[in-house]
Symmetry: C2
Subunit: 151 residues, 2 copies
């Protein structure tokens, strides 16, 4: 077969298995940033509800979203080649993130615990309990940002 047809067939194979192949580093960066950004929106909504006009339904949905992102296994998106910007795809991760995997795991596990506890508390707790657990969750975000994210 001609070269063009062969390349077309090859492209079709790759397109069909696009997700089965490891994601390109720039896509890993893009998707992990989407996850963090989506958590930020939801943490912001909870904060807003705690400040005024508490709407339990919105808080429950927001906390469930934060927990689901946290449970999703974002660590898979910090593969080789994702340590620094790739063209227009920027990352704020510090080099230390890739050198201190035990510390990363410790902070990620701590955040995951607080996020799941928040998702639980919002369904059963009063506003005071939600506020306290929201504070703990925010602190757990911050400990990782302080250590592993550039300003």
């Amino acid at each position: 077969m001609g070269k063009k047809v062969f390349l077309g067939a090859l492209a079709a194979v790759f397109l069909n298995t696009a997700y089965a192949a490891p994601l390109k580093p720039e896509d890993q960066i893009r998707f992990r940033k989407a996850g963090y950004s989506f958590m930020a929106w939801n943490m912001g909504r909870i904060k807003s509800n705690l400040e005024s006009g508490y709407n339990k339904d919105e808080v429950v949905k927001s906390a469930a979203a934060v927990a689901a992102v946290s449970n999703s296994g974002l660590i898979a998106l910090f593969g080789p080649g994702t340590e620094h910007d790739i063209g227009e795809t920027k990352t704020r991760v510090k080099a230390e993130f890739f050198q201190q995997q035990d510390k990363v795991k410790e902070l990620a596990t701590a955040f995951n615990k607080e996020a799941n506890e928040l998702a639980r508390v919002v369904t059963v707790g009063d506003v005071g309990a939600v506020k306290a657990q929201f504070g703990k969750t925010g602190e757990a975000c911050k400990s990782c940002h302080d250590k592993f994210r550039t300003d």
Copy 2:
């Protein structure tokens, strides 16, 4: 008090209530895109698992993330001023999205139903059942993209 001190105090008030104020249109666009992008990553992971090396744990986490984003109420991020690009913040939403709210609601409700069913099926169903429900969920994504997203 001096003008500088007053402005400082004002800034502090705004920073404290930043989340309570409605989000700026560019932030709404940014956050909704993060939500869709994060769902795309998770749909991609499920597809990859269905193609080879099915890992139930990963599929369950991915489907839970898709459902949580779908349940989160993304519609709040299509407020006034988010109908078109804002500087470097691009959006692919069509004008029709803002003119056909009944159709938007119909498609969003249909997608939400399939996403939650997927999150349920992955915990109890066999791979064939997951594949079928994944197909329905993907179709529900696509009906909305075809109607309301530019190429």
